[in-house]
């Protein structure tokens, strides 16, 4: 819209016609206070804090509902407005308890801030305040009614943002109250958005309430370890007896690619880190069959020696390595590098949950066809095939809903189930559970009597979309993805995304945790120059995948199995007998099913306790910052380096750190905490080498940036906290036919909103919520 010029407090400002006056003022630094106004949600004009004087208007006007017009003359900084704001705060404080010293929001409360800034230092209220008892609405949400100032943000975010409508308003006058629409409890997704959006301490979370003061915590914005969407979560950590403990997870600064959004897992399921079953000492199996704790030095010595002997005596191919979907890119990259070069094996794999390889192959050589998760919030049309984003990719679901709400985006669905997103869909069809591949071919034009008129109408609608985002779940793999991509590429402007399950599922794939593919999906026989980079020691023979490794072990062909942050035994139902002749080393936080079969268990830190990068399933690369710390555990990166070092490997060849500077093996804590990041910017500007330690993930990231196709991102932007979209565009794939009949090996985990693979078992809060939800749905079914 055309710009208009108006005057605010004597300043001439320009804004597009139709802009809300409040937004126009904020853009030029004129602050207009508001409780009920919230960008992206419907307008309320209820709190009356944003009243301003507009010339020619008889009454004060709410800046949150007034659109700017040409020549408008506005006053926001007059005695009249100061008094209006002060009085409004006096009124809102009339019934608001002044229990700030014990209130969760104390110190980060908008009402406190506004009272401090706009007045009502003294109270004229001498009457008895209205009081009601606190209520618990769900395992995560508590409501302290007297603190509520009725800004209706929670109601709106629940209704408009989440499309859940668990919250409503009851009663009237000063008895007005926010309440669950389902009597006394929340029938919802337990996302906690209502708590985050509450400007005061009326809504509080079970995990955080009355635990600490906000200023006693350090707030670290990092990436949620759970699903593949990669939301930023801000962890509040506080010193504890054995390190730094996570006390709170929330979306405090809203600067991540998730914007406003965070789900139950990102907010509350950090508690696995504090689980009592957490391992904190290296364990070595004794001749009597029992585990016994040993020192780190001994443990690493035992492991390194076993690895070296296996390699030297039985050959690298006798070693199997399984990586993690929750480790950083740096750890994944280094693991495959150490495996291929130091261990001399290509038996390397990870828990695949979808077929990134097929999509990369299908789009080989085509630039900018891989979508960012932000595209789901802005694309004019989106086709979601398979998956249930509400359950498995909550941020994607949020972006899709918001896109419909704000931009009237058109959503098309094809699924074998009823999914919640149907409520936003322009059209939605049901297809057979085993009909995804056939449907992909049907879209491409292959007629099939299984698909009726509704499917044809959907196909026609998609064909008529000038710009389309296609998002598909792990129901589609291999050649089905080819067919879908072919259809998509025949349309004028299409982007794609494929949905994997965990925080770094995509990163693990991009970093080459495959027996037959190098980082960037380069076929091992092509090697793409990596052989020379890895000192010429890498074999170009494809190795074994996870299943084949266990088969080899059963055949007594696997001397060593090195499992870094995965639980294949649980997933594949492996028994102890299969591994009786294999030396199994497991790096994990817990005594998982796989750890129980191990000979050595090395306790590790989780994603919240380390630095590095992860790549979400859309290919958005983000910085992971160390928030918590736990005495007794080590990061996987450190352990990989230490094992290789103890094996006698040249650490400088594995990790390009400290140009010419000797390794300082003792500095792990400092660099892990991200200090090097901050110093790094200064050091780099002075042409000094910041990476002084082989445990510095930045040193590994240097190599990733240099060698992994697609990872040519802007480092400074990444360090500044902006996600970088990596387009593993298949430029490294040279011989496409090589992939034709490659088994995808994917085992989708089918997690819900309230589960998170093995890790989820150790989150008490997640388990509690899951039980609560299950009980509720049982009641509903009665």
């Amino acid at each position: 819209m055309a710009d208009v010029t108006l005057t605010v407090d004597g300043k001439t400002i320009t804004a597009p016609a139709g802009t809300l006056l409040l937004e126009a003022c904020r853009k030029v630094g004129i602050e207009i206070p508001a409780f009920c106004y919230y960008p992206g949600l419907s307008l309320q004009a209820a709190c009356r804090m944003c009243l301003v004087r507009i010339e020619k208007m008889p009454k004060l006007q709410t800046a949150c509902t007034t659109q700017v017009t040409e020549g408008m003359i506005v006053a926001t900084d007059t005695d009249e407005i100061h008094q209006a704001r002060k009085a409004m705060l006096e009124l809102v404080l009339a019934n608001h308890p002044l229990d700030c010293p014990v209130c969760d929001a104390g110190g980060e409360c908008e009402l406190q801030d506004m009272t401090f800034k706009y007045g009502a230092g003294g109270s004229q209220f001498v009457e008895i305040k209205n009081h009601r008892e606190e209520q618990q609405w769900s395992p995560v949400v508590f409501f302290d009614r007297p603190r509520c100032i009725l800004c209706y943000r929670c109601v709106r975010v629940c209704n408009e943002g989440m499309d859940v409508a668990a919250l409503g308003i009851q009663q009237r006058n000063s008895g007005s109250v926010i309440a669950p629409n389902d009597q006394t409890q929340l029938d919802c997704e337990q996302c906690g958005m209502c708590i985050d959006i509450c400007p005061v301490g009326a809504l509080t979370s079970d995990t955080y309430r009355y635990k600490t003061r906000p200023w006693e915590m350090t707030h670290v914005g990092t990436i949620c370890t759970h699903c593949g969407d990669g939301c930023k979560t801000t962890l509040g950590v506080r010193r504890s007896d054995d390190g730094m403990q996570i006390v709170r997870g929330d979306n405090r600064d809203k600067s991540g690619l998730n914007g406003e959004f965070l789900c139950v897992k990102g907010r509350y399921a950090f508690d696995f880190a504090n689980n009592e079953e957490r391992l904190t000492q290296p364990l070595v199996r004794q001749p009597n069959g029992e585990f016994a704790p040993v020192t780190w030095e001994d443990a690493i010595k035992i492991v390194a020696q076993k690895f070296r002997v296996a390699r030297d005596d039985r050959g690298g191919a006798s070693i199997g390595v399984i990586g993690s979907t929750r480790n950083t890119n740096e750890e994944a990259y280094l693991l495959q590098k150490v495996a291929r070069s130091a261990f001399g094996t290509n038996n390397i794999d990870h828990h695949r949950t979808t077929d990134y390889v097929a999509l990369t192959r299908a789009l080989a050589g085509k630039k900018h066809r891989m979508a960012s998760i932000a595209d789901a919030g802005s694309a004019p049309a989106i086709f979601v095939l398979g998956n249930d984003p509400t359950e498995q990719h909550p941020l994607l679901a949020w972006n899709l809903r918001t896109n419909v709400r704000h931009n009237s985006a058109r959503i098309y669905l094809a699924n074998h189930r009823d999914i919640k997103l149907q409520r936003q869909a322009k059209s939605s069809i049901q297809i057979p559970a085993d009909g995804y591949a056939a449907f992909a071919r049907f879209l491409g034009g292959e007629e099939n009597s299984v698909f009726g008129e509704d499917a044809k109408a959907l196909r026609d609608a998609l064909r008529n979309e000038p710009s389309l985002l296609i998002v598909f779940g792990s129901e589609l793999r291999g050649s089905a993805i080819d067919a879908l991509a072919e259809f998509g590429l025949s349309l004028p402007d299409t982007k794609f995304a494929c949905l994997g399950d965990y925080v770094n599922s995509r990163g693990a794939a991009d970093m080459g945790l495959y027996p037959d593919l190098l980082p960037g999906y380069v076929p091992i026989e092509q090697e793409g120059g990596l052989r020379a980079e890895y000192g010429g020691r890498m074999s170009q023979q494809a190795g074994l995948d996870v299943a084949q490794m266990f088969e080899a072990a059963a055949r007594n062909e696997l001397a060593v199995l090195y499992v870094v942050g995965d639980d294949p035994a649980e997933r594949l139902g492996v028994d102890a007998d299969a591994l009786r002749n294999t030396f199994v080393v497991v790096q994990d936080m817990f005594m998982t099913a796989t750890a129980k079969l191990a000979d050595v268990v090395l306790p590790t830190s989780n994603l919240y306790e380390k630095s590095g990068t992860v790549t979400n399933t859309f290919g958005d690369l983000q910085l992971v910052k160390k928030a918590a710390d736990r005495a007794g555990v080590r990061s996987d990166l450190e352990l990989i380096v230490r094992i290789a070092d103890t094996m006698g490997e040249d650490v400088h060849a594995l990790v390009p750190f400290g140009k010419g500077v000797r390794a300082d093996m003792g500095q792990s804590r400092g660099v892990q905490s991200g200090e090097a990041d901050r110093h790094g910017i200064w050091l780099a500007a002075h042409n000094l080498e910041p990476k002084l330690s082989p445990f510095d993930p930045n040193a590994v990231l240097d190599e990733i940036q240099r060698l992994v196709p697609g990872y040519n991102f802007d480092r400074m932007e990444l360090l500044a906290g902006t996600s970088q979209h990596v387009d593993a565009d298949g430029s490294g794939v040279m011989e496409i036919s090589r992939f034709a009949n490659r088994p995808d090996g994917a085992m989708p985990s089918a997690d819900t909103l309230f589960t998170s693979g093995t890790l989820g078992h150790y989150s008490e809060k997640l388990n509690e919520v899951e039980t609560f939800q299950a009980k509720k749905s049982m009641v509903a079914a009665d």
Partner: protein, 435 residues
């Protein structure tokens, strides 16, 4: 059924069929019923609006907006259906006129509603009755059914090619819903909370369609205006205030009741002649001129004509026509408390100043009247009301603030008489009950 009153000064227009059996459709037709609408069909919307404008009829709900002008704001073309909405949510304390209309002359509401529909091009009308008037719904619904049976509603009304449907609905007992946009929310089945404006109902109203919403008395006047001609109607009243008005005189009057008097009729005369003066020959203490939300007038201020402009000039408002007579036995602090109790109870709770302000005022006035007042409370009561005034989401906040300010300013001495723990000095004379 309430007893009807009358006085020779009355000019019976809207009330001319009261007590004459006009709930019966045939009787209504005998009494010139459904004549205006036939004429309206014949002469078309422009004629209707011209007559309405000429009549100087101003909205009888309280705001006094010229009805003809309101109708002319409705866009001719609209993608969404247009609606006519009759606001029968009569809730202002002291006001009881619409009640009589629904009771005695429901067809006048139907006829006015059809005419409004013809004027703006609406095909559907809604008659919204106050929740507490639920017992009048049977009368209203019978009237609507009779009109359908005669072909006055439905397809091709009166043999023309116009269609018009009327649906009646009751509220759930919220004063707030008398506010036009809150009424629309309520009618749509939502919480009775007002809407942000603009857009105004004439452009985006009920179900998002252009909507004409008028008070029941306004709508009931329409057929009479068309029958007698806009100019003739205008002449009955005063300058820019056409016609008559149903004044509801209550309180300490000798002959309380609803009287139809020309706009601009002198208030003093209204109390002392039409309503027979103050009950028992007592002294007049104050008059609330237009329903409980209008600032109180002192006896020295009542020699004014009762129209929107003259009462406005006197510092109050004509409001909804509810004239409350208060004699010397009234404790004005208690009256202020009783007034604020009502607004506190009826505040919808949406915005801070009204929700918290009325609550605070009620608490303070309760304590104050009970003898717990301090000198600073008097200024504080005024401060609170002044800081609500003009800053609330809808006029309900003003409705609570305006009279409160007037009570403190005009009866400060009575407030001071309550100080120092004294029991209410007026307690022995308590006789006031509000309708």
């Amino acid at each position: 059924m309430p007893r009807l009153v009358s006085h020779p000064d009355e000019v019976k227009v809207v009330s001319r069929r009261f007590g004459r059996g006009a709930t019966n459709i045939d009787r209504y037709i005998e009494l010139d019923g459904y004549k205006a609408v036939r004429q309206a069909i014949e002469k078309g919307p422009e004629w209707i609006i011209a007559e309405m404008k000429a009549s100087n009829l101003r909205g009888r709900g309280g705001a006094g907006f010229p009805t003809g002008m309101k109708w002319s704001f409705v866009p001719k073309q609209s993608e969404k259906p247009k609606y006519v909405l009759v606001n029968g949510d009569e809730s202002e304390p002291g006001t009881c006129k619409d009640h009589l209309i629904f009771l005695h002359d429901p067809h006048a509401v139907i006829e006015g509603c059809i005419v409004a529909g013809l004027a703006v091009g609406a095909k559907t009308g809604f008659i919204y009755l106050r929740g507490e008037y639920r017992y009048l719904l049977t009368i209203m619904e019978k009237a609507i059914a009779d009109a359908y049976a005669k072909g006055f509603l439905g397809k091709g009304i009166f043999g023309s090619n116009f269609d018009f449907e009327i649906i009646s609905q009751t509220g759930a007992g919220a004063y707030e819903v008398g506010e036009e946009s809150a009424l629309m929310e309520s009618l749509e089945g939502k919480r009775g909370i007002p809407r942000i404006r603009p857009p105004f109902p004439a452009v985006v109203g009920l179900y998002g369609g252009p909507t004409v919403i008028n008070n029941a008395e306004t709508i009931a006047s329409v057929s009479h205006i068309l029958n007698m001609g806009g100019e003739a109607y205008a002449k009955i009243g005063s300058n820019r205030n056409g016609g008559t008005r149903l004044f509801c005189i209550s309180g300490h009057a000798e002959r309380p009741g609803v009287y139809e008097l020309p706009m601009g009729y002198n208030l003093k005369k209204m109390i002392y002649e039409v309503a027979g003066g103050v009950r028992g020959g007592r002294q007049l203490k104050a008059v609330v001129p237009g329903g409980s939300s209008t600032p109180v007038l002192l006896p020295s201020e009542i020699d004014i004509g009762m129209d929107f402009d003259q009462v406005g000039k006197a510092g109050s408002m004509l409001g909804s026509g509810g004239v409350v007579v208060l004699d010397e036995t009234v404790c004005m602090v208690e009256f202020a408390l009783r007034t604020i109790q009502f607004y506190q109870h009826e505040s919808c709770g949406w915005c801070i100043p009204c929700r918290e302000g009325t609550d605070w005022l009620k608490k303070t006035l309760t304590r104050f009247h009970a003898g717990g007042g301090e000198a600073k409370d008097i200024d504080h009561i005024q401060y609170l009301a002044e800081n609500m005034l003009g800053r609330t989401f809808c006029p309900l906040g003003d409705a609570a603030a305006m009279p409160t300010i007037a009570f403190v300013k005009k009866f400060r001495q009575e407030f001071e008489d309550h100080l120092n723990g004294k029991p209410c000095p007026y307690a022995k004379q308590q006789e006031l009950t509000l309708a």
